[in-house]
């Protein structure tokens, strides 16, 4: 069997140790060589700072709460629904939506790296990428939920989804009680980022 010959090959050690200087050096090299235009970097930063974030996922969840036909289509083939909504893209090529019920609470992790549904939730928060979340979510999800202030009833099973392939998972949280009169737009405000990862619940409206 061939062996992984890159093991002792770490050219990055030629860069200065300070990460800010490393980034500056790579930016200088790649832009001067004409490989990357600086505006391409701005485009990426602007996309995930200002255009793509958890508001996309919140729209999907609120619509699923309000519209049974949409909800059924979403649970059957979420990728097709995302294409219709314009929420398809990098790190969201294969989407599966998993629904929380009284019987099952879903929670998403990527133990091997930090796979996350970017077109629906944006870039992941620091805790999602942390060693603590990656190591503990699969072994003790209820203790992790406690870190978020969430306690589930004993009748509810926890199902943790470890994103080991290119399938990206979005949790459809339970619709909070007392929201029957709210329209889709009002419901969107109750859908937090964490509720769509499964480390939180949707907010209860303040009267």
């Amino acid at each position: 069997m061939p062996h992984d010959h890159h093991d002792h090959d770490h050219p990055h050690t030629l860069l200065p140790p300070d990460p800010a200087l490393r980034v500056k050096a790579l930016e200088t090299i790649l832009t001067r060589k004409g490989l990357i235009d600086p505006t391409a970097l701005d485009e990426i930063i602007d996309t995930y700072e200002n255009r793509i974030g958890p508001q996309n996922g919140a729209l999907v969840v609120a619509r699923a709460w309000s519209n049974d036909t949409f909800r059924a289509a979403l649970l059957k083939d979420a990728t097709a629904v995302m294409q219709d909504l314009g929420f398809y893209g990098r790190q969201g090529e294969h989407i599966v939506v998993v629904e929380n019920t009284d019987a099952v609470h879903n929670m998403v992790v990527c133990t091997l790296c930090s796979c996350y549904p970017w077109p629906l939730l944006g870039i992941p928060p620091g805790w999602y990428k942390s060693d603590a979340y990656r190591s503990r979510a699969v072994r003790e999800p209820r203790a992790v939920l406690a870190d978020f202030g969430v306690t589930l009833p004993d009748e509810t099973a926890v199902r943790v989804w470890d994103s080991t392939a290119e399938i990206r998972y979005l949790v459809l949280p339970q619709r909070p009680k007392g929201t029957e009169s709210l329209d889709e737009q009002a419901l969107q405000k109750l859908v937090t980022r964490d509720s769509m990862i499964g480390t939180g619940l949707a907010l209860v409206p303040t009267v």
Partner: protein, 222 residues
């Protein structure tokens, strides 16, 4: 057989610290640029997502543990740029390079690449041998069978475990092959569900479960 990224189930990492909802704020000035450089360089098409994941996994365990998240990204990016002959070691040392031709990745081509994404589904000659509900066992040890120490997506905590096929996703690129330039080798991909008690000595609750997305060659009938 493991590498430092394979940390599912590990003890000793402390609490998870929640953050405000919404779009996460960057915690250092260089973070957004580190993210953007990595994503833009990926669009040059000299490597695939499996190669770039493996480049991060190849960091020395002591560096993987002490580097901040985006530090891993830029270290792996520098390694890939040299391995794929886009940047020389002299250029890395100098921190600059002679001016080259027109920019290959522009704002417009980048925006198009972000919307287009990179689906992993491919047609394949390999037929699914498992059906929804079948009982399967994962390989043990969790390791790349094509390249010793190579990339794989079967975590160590789930090696040799018995579970049930929950979902079938069609045929997808096999990372164990694709990360090493050995071809996409698409094959059936399943979601397999495992009782927590199958994976952990002290599961928190008898009804809890963990699912993993696993390729057919990671599985055998049980």
């Amino acid at each position: 057989m493991t590498r430092p990224h394979d940390m599912g189930g590990r003890f000793g990492d402390g609490p998870v610290v929640p953050e405000p909802q919404g779009i996460p704020a960057y915690t250092a000035d260089w973070h957004p640029k580190a993210l953007a450089l990595t994503v833009a360089a990926g669009a040059l098409g000299k490597w695939n997502i499996d190669t770039s994941r493996h480049a991060r996994e190849l960091l020395a365990p002591k560096d993987y543990a002490r580097f901040a998240y985006y530090e891993k990204w830029i270290a792996a990016l520098a390694d890939l740029l040299v391995t794929k002959d886009l940047v020389s070691t002299d250029e890395l040392k100098a921190g600059t390079a002679p001016a080259g031709g027109g920019a290959k990745i522009t704002a417009a081509s980048m925006a198009a690449a972000l919307s287009r994404g990179g689906p992993a589904s491919r047609p394949s000659d390999v037929s699914p041998t498992f059906a929804i509900g079948d009982t399967v066992r994962t390989l043990r040890p969790a390791a790349n069978r094509l390249v010793n120490g190579g990339h794989t997506r079967l975590p160590a905590y789930a090696a040799g475990a018995t579970g049930r096929i929950l979902l079938y996703h069609g045929t997808h690129v096999l990372p164990d092959s694709n990360a090493h330039g050995l071809g996409e080798a698409p094959e059936p991909l399943y979601t397999v569900v495992f009782p927590a008690a199958e994976l952990w000595a002290a599961p928190e609750h008898p009804n809890d479960e963990v699912t993993l997305d696993l390729w057919q060659s990671y599985l055998e009938p049980a």
